[in-house]
């Protein structure tokens, strides 16, 4: 069934179709409608889940962890400062191997107080052991929530499904809402081998001596390394059933491109328009949108840029004192594999500053005019 819905409701429908059993969340702009709709679904019983109201995001995640330990499929959503407040418990989720799925609406961190989009909130959590999926349309948001439950529960690693504030969260788009029966077929119930029950009590997360801790971390990483293949496999299964592939990256006209733009999130969709316009002007550009940031899809990126003469990575985030974070990761993926391929790092769109097709044309022009990047960071659109 096709419906015109906002990105926030795409998260809600994804959680509903995924039959989330416990939802604990605290409202924050621009995430509020996600849990508003889910609480209505719980109230009118169209979703058979327990909705736990809490007094903070820290408690929201704590409640999710308890529910997940008890074997429930668990969902929450947050944004920016709310995600930052959860930080400690994000480690508990991954370290405890609890496959919570969380929507995060990318919102710039305060101060200055902002409700608009950039990626610093979620990217600041990159080392917490969560998988991160950056979406570029409301359809992809809904589909990815369902896939994330499947991948997370198989690997016992939590997932963050990420969308841009307002540009997706509050924007209405036509979304195909899959049939519940087919989703049930795709996503079987969560049934972990170890769970907390009154009949069989366990202790979790206890003191772990140097004799054991190291191996727990080794195993978390080893499971994370299985994610790229599993995401591709479950993405193909999804395509077979619902007609939409869910992969690690999305390539648009990369095969014969001289210049490849590397993008993510909603701007990764807008970049397609710029690429099509540049092609009409005779410039062989392509767009490689990175969807999965953790685990980072090294191999597919190395293969995708083969044959390109230049790479321009566009970041809507910054690691202060270093670079844009996608730029860092792309360079680390290509090091030793790309034979001196020039990689340019651009930062734009912080705090919700609009990213338009012209932004990508400006980036393209800068890149074409130079053999190598002259600056560590190339800023686009700063007004001083």
């Amino acid at each position: 069934m096709k419906k015109v819905i906002m990105g926030n409701h795409a998260l809600s429908y994804g959680a509903k179709l995924g039959r989330a059993q416990v939802i604990a969340a605290y409202p924050i702009t621009p995430q509020t409608q996600v849990v508003e709709l889910l609480s209505e679904m719980c109230a009118d019983k169209s979703l058979d889940a327990m909705f736990i109201k809490v007094e903070s995001e820290h408690s929201a995640m704590a409640a999710c962890l308890g529910a997940s330990l008890a074997g429930a499929r668990t969902f929450t959503a947050t944004s920016a400062q709310g995600l930052a407040l959860m930080h400690e418990l994000l480690h508990w989720a991954s370290g405890g191997r609890l496959p919570v799925v969380m929507g995060n609406i990318n919102r710039a961190m305060a101060p200055g107080w902002s409700i608009w989009s950039d990626q610093n909130d979620s990217l600041s959590q990159r080392d917490t052991g969560w998988m991160q999926f950056y979406c570029s349309s409301n359809q992809e948001v809904l589909d990815t929530v369902i896939q994330a439950f499947k991948v997370s529960e198989k690997l016992l690693i939590p997932s963050m499904v990420i969308l841009d504030a307002f540009t997706l969260s509050h924007t209405y788009e036509v979304v195909d809402i899959p049939d519940q029966k087919k989703v049930d077929e795709y996503l079987p119930p969560f049934n972990p081998s170890i769970k907390l029950t009154p009949e069989e009590p366990h202790a979790f997360g206890g003191l772990t001596s140097p004799e054991h801790y190291f191996e727990l971390r080794y195993k978390l990483q080893k499971e994370m390394e299985k994610a790229p293949a599993l995401i591709e496999k479950t993405g193909k299964e999804y395509e077979k059933m619902f007609g939409r592939y869910l992969g690690l990256v999305e390539k648009h006209r990369c095969d014969d491109a001289d210049l490849i733009l590397i993008t993510s999130g909603a701007m990764g969709s807008t970049a397609r328009i710029a690429v099509d316009e540049l092609r009409k002007e005779g410039i062989k550009a392509g767009n490689l949108r990175i969807k999965v940031f953790r685990p980072f899809p090294f191999e597919i990126i190395r293969n995708a840029v083969k044959g390109a003469k230049k790479i321009a990575v566009v970041d809507r985030n910054i690691s202060y004192g270093h670079h844009g974070m996608f730029f860092e990761e792309v360079k680390s993926a290509l090091y030793g594999y790309s034979d001196g391929l020039p990689v340019f790092g651009f930062i734009t769109g912080l705090g919700g500053r609009d990213i338009t097709p012209s932004t990508f044309k400006e980036i393209t022009q800068y890149t074409l005019e130079r053999d190598k990047p002259k600056e560590e960071i190339i800023w686009i659109g700063v007004k001083l």
């Binding site: 419906k3 841009d164 504030a165 307002f166 924007t171 209405y172 807008t270 328009i273 990213i355 097709p357």
Partner: protein, 185 residues
């Protein structure tokens, strides 16, 4: 692709109007993207809503700066802001007004079409005399003037999209639709 910008004031249902228009378009199998101006809403302050319509998937997620048409829900806005900012030459200004188009002082680069949505809404008892809710009447007129969809899709979207009085709203949308001219004819 058609890009439209709505101008209204907080509390008049401008964002709801753009959502109902989006639903109307989607019912006919076309693609649509609708978004409000991203800010903090206040009753009475100027608000904006934007909509893109196409028969192909819409990939552009940036804001609309050069709309093909603008819709003015509250006529008092033309004293306060430039509703024609960025409007393409030859584009329509569809405005809720009891005046004749030639009595509104717009540049002749644009096609001005007036709709007496306030009168229609009051007649159908939508809102109050002091604060009529004109959004469904305006959408009815826009759908007809720009030839965006059939009346059946419009009425269905109105009935599903309004918080109260589905039949009165549908009647207002129908009256505005039927009393407006299709510019493409």
């Amino acid at each position: 692709m058609i890009e439209i910008r709505f101008h209204g004031r907080g509390g008049q249902g401008t964002v709801v109007a753009s959502k109902i228009l989006a639903d109307t378009i989607a019912k006919e199998g076309n693609y649509v993207q609708a978004y409000p101006e991203f800010g903090v809403e206040r009753r009475g302050a100027p608000v904006y809503a934007f909509i893109r319509i196409d028969d192909k998937p819409i990939y552009d997620k940036s804001k609309i700066y050069k709309p093909d048409h603008v819709v003015v829900v509250d006529p008092s806005l033309i004293e306060a802001i430039d509703v024609t900012e960025g409007l393409k030459e030859g584009g329509c200004i569809i405005i809720n007004s009891e005046k004749k188009p030639e009595d509104l002082k717009f540049s002749n680069k644009f096609k001005v079409i007036t709709v007496n949505a306030t009168e229609i809404s009051v007649k159908h008892k939508l809102g109050t005399l002091a604060a009529p809710i004109v959004n469904t009447a305006i959408v009815g007129a826009v759908v007809k003037i720009l030839n965006l969809a059939k009346i059946g899709s419009l009425l269905e979207a109105v009935r599903e999209g309004v918080p109260t009085k589905p039949e009165d709203n549908a009647a207002a949308a129908r009256e505005a639709y039927e009393s407006s001219e299709n510019i493409n004819k």
